[in-house]
């Protein structure tokens, strides 16, 4: 199972991120998760939302450059060592982790790791063999 992540190009200039968040809030889009990666003169904002289609339409209308990527979202038990275990499993199976970030949910008080790997199918297989679940976009809305 995968969820959809929206990655948005942002110039590294004061006010750009504020502008971006304003566009989302102005259109009633609730971000479930946000992660920011930055190079010296530009950044990439990665967000997870419930309604991807709606968010994409809003961003397109506002003139943003973005891409939609399938990423893995794995629930993590809130105890020491659970993240380390997941990463270890991926590493042992030769799966390269490009980036990751975490978010928590309001409804059920869960923590999730968003994992970006090259081969989603392989990663899902490996994780499920080790009893680590990944959720779908539909499932995400329940949390």
């Amino acid at each position: 199972m995968t969820i959809k992540q929206i990655s948005v190009f942002l110039e590294n200039r004061p006010g750009r991120l504020a502008e971006f968040t304003k566009v989302l809030s102005g259109n009633g889009i609730d971000m479930r998760a946000l992660s920011l990666a930055e190079a010296s003169d530009f950044g990439i904002v990665r967000i997870i939302v419930n309604d991807v289609y709606n968010a994409a339409t809003v961003l397109k209308d506002a003139g943003y450059i973005f891409s939609i990527t399938e990423v893995l979202a794995a629930p993590m038990p809130d105890e020491p060592g659970s993240l380390s275990k997941t990463i270890q499993i991926l590493g042992d199976n030769d799966i390269n982790l490009e980036y990751m970030y975490a978010f928590t949910t309001r409804k059920k008080g869960m923590a999730f790791m968003v994992l970006r790997v090259e081969d989603n199918k392989k990663a899902i297989d490996v994780l499920s063999r080790n009893d680590i679940r990944t959720i779908s976009q539909e499932e995400l809305q329940e949390y």
């Binding site: 190009f9 110039e11 190079a39 003169d41 530009f42 003139g63 943003y64 450059i65 973005f66 990527t69």
Partner: protein, 435 residues
């Protein structure tokens, strides 16, 4: 006291100069008619034969030539002498597409060095001086030209070339350099470096000959003050010979064109009409004495003003102002010729949008160039390293095209200002040209 390298030429009467020019022009026209097919063809198209050119007054009948002609005739098309008689090649700093290769016979080198020797002597140079040449050596004409001129004057010549500031300053102190030849921006950088090290009392410089890029009066005063020297401007272009086509005298009010070798005209760049003294227009040169690579009415694209007014230094040759701008969109960055179209070509080849902006600035006396490019969906991905790699690829392609490093800044779509629907392609923050 004003010194001259060739007083009988530099201070000749206007009648004498006119006589030299007419006689040499007639001979040069015959020479190119006989030896360079392009010139003969152009003259025929204009309904001219060498008989129509009897004096300098007839010069205006000849058609102009441009950098595009030089490029089209690359490499040997404009040669007027067999290669066996040529002894040297120099080249402009441009790129493959725009590169200009100039050829010299031994006689050509000799006359070019005379021109540089006149400039060094006008700056007070004698055989007692130590002439420190920090222009680049190699294909660039700066180093070889001033080096040759320095020899002719009899200066002890230090062929330093550019770079390695530490060694430049050490030699300057240890060997007592008295005349510095380099680009004005490097002179300013050297001046600062000398002050940072507290060595200003240990240098013996008295004069500097600075050219190959535009510089302001403020910059001149700054360099003069910091180095305790008098700073002289020098002008030239590879196509015509190199530095020394014109040079400044003690009056520091314009550069004397070496009129026994080059005829300078200022034209209206739109109509081609020759403009009188005092009017601003495009500078055009005709080489009178060049053997290997004679250029007839070559449009430099530099905008300037000519003055035949008598100069207090005693020289009679016409003076030109510093270039006041360009009649094309060429930029000179770090001494390298850059055309916005070259940058556009690279962007197109790499799949970027045609929306870009070039920002040229001067930071700590060194030119910087930044190319702002609007991000496109095709070039974007969620991976920072993938986008950074594409950015790097673009930087490398620009370096290969331009020959210098240009910073790339990826910006949001529509971030580049458009005025009346048309993008402003170049923002030059250096304000080098004074009106």
């Amino acid at each position: 006291m004003e010194r001259y390298y060739q007083p009988e030429i530099e201070c000749a009467s206007r009648e004498q100069i006119r006589e030299w020019q007419s006689e040499r022009l007639v001979r040069q026209v015959k020479n190119v008619w006989d030896n360079v097919p392009m010139y003969r063809q152009r003259m025929e198209e204009a309904g001219l034969t060498p008989d129509d050119i009897r004096s300098v007054d007839d010069l205006k009948k000849l058609p102009f030539i441009t950098k595009d002609d030089l490029r089209d005739q690359y490499p040997y098309g404009l040669l007027a002498r067999p290669l066996s008689e040529c002894v040297r090649i120099q080249s402009t700093s441009g790129t493959t597409g725009r590169r200009v290769v100039a050829f010299y016979t031994q006689h050509d080198l000799d006359l070019w060095e005379d021109c540089c020797a006149r400039a060094i002597t006008a700056a007070g140079g004698t055989n007692e001086d130590v002439c420190h040449v920090s222009y680049g050596y190699g294909l660039f004409t700066g180093g070889p030209g001033l080096n040759g001129g320095s020899h002719k004057v009899g200066c002890l010549t230090l062929p330093m070339s550019s770079g390695n500031t530490e060694r430049q300053i050490q030699f300057m102190v240890d060997l007592g350099s008295t005349i510095l030849c380099c680009t004005p921006s490097y002179a300013a950088y050297l001046a600062e470096s000398i002050h940072e090290r507290g060595l200003q009392d240990q240098i013996k410089l008295k004069a500097g000959i600075f050219g190959a890029e535009a510089w302001t009066e403020e910059m001149r005063h700054d360099i003069e003050e910091k180095l305790g020297i008098k700073a002289y401007d020098i002008y030239g272009l590879t196509e015509i010979s190199g530095p020394g086509v014109s040079f400044e005298c003690s009056a520091q009010k314009g550069m004397h064109v070496n009129e026994d070798h080059f005829i300078a005209e200022v034209i209206n760049p739109k109509t081609g009409e020759v403009l009188p003294d005092g009017e601003k227009g495009e500078l055009v040169f005709t080489s009178l004495t060049k053997e290997a690579f004679p250029l007839m009415r070559y449009r430099t694209r530099d905008i300037c003003i000519l003055s035949h007014e008598k100069c207090s230094c005693g020289r009679t040759h016409v003076r030109m102002t510093k270039p006041l701008g360009r009649s094309d969109d060429m930029l000179i960055v770090k001494g390298v010729n850059v055309f916005p179209s070259q940058i556009e070509t690279v962007l197109m080849n790499k799949g970027y949008a045609a929306n870009y902006q070039i920002i040229v600035d001067r930071v700590n006396n060194s030119d910087t160039i930044e190319v702002q490019v609007e991000m496109t969906a095709e070039m974007f991905s969620d991976s920072l390293s993938a986008v950074a790699a594409k950015e790097k690829e673009l930087v490398d392609a620009l370096k290969a095209m331009l020959g210098i490093y240009a910073k790339v800044k990826l910006v949001n779509p529509k971030a580049i200002t458009r005025s009346e629907g048309k993008a402003v392609r170049v923002i030059d923050k250096r304000n080098l040209y004074q009106s």
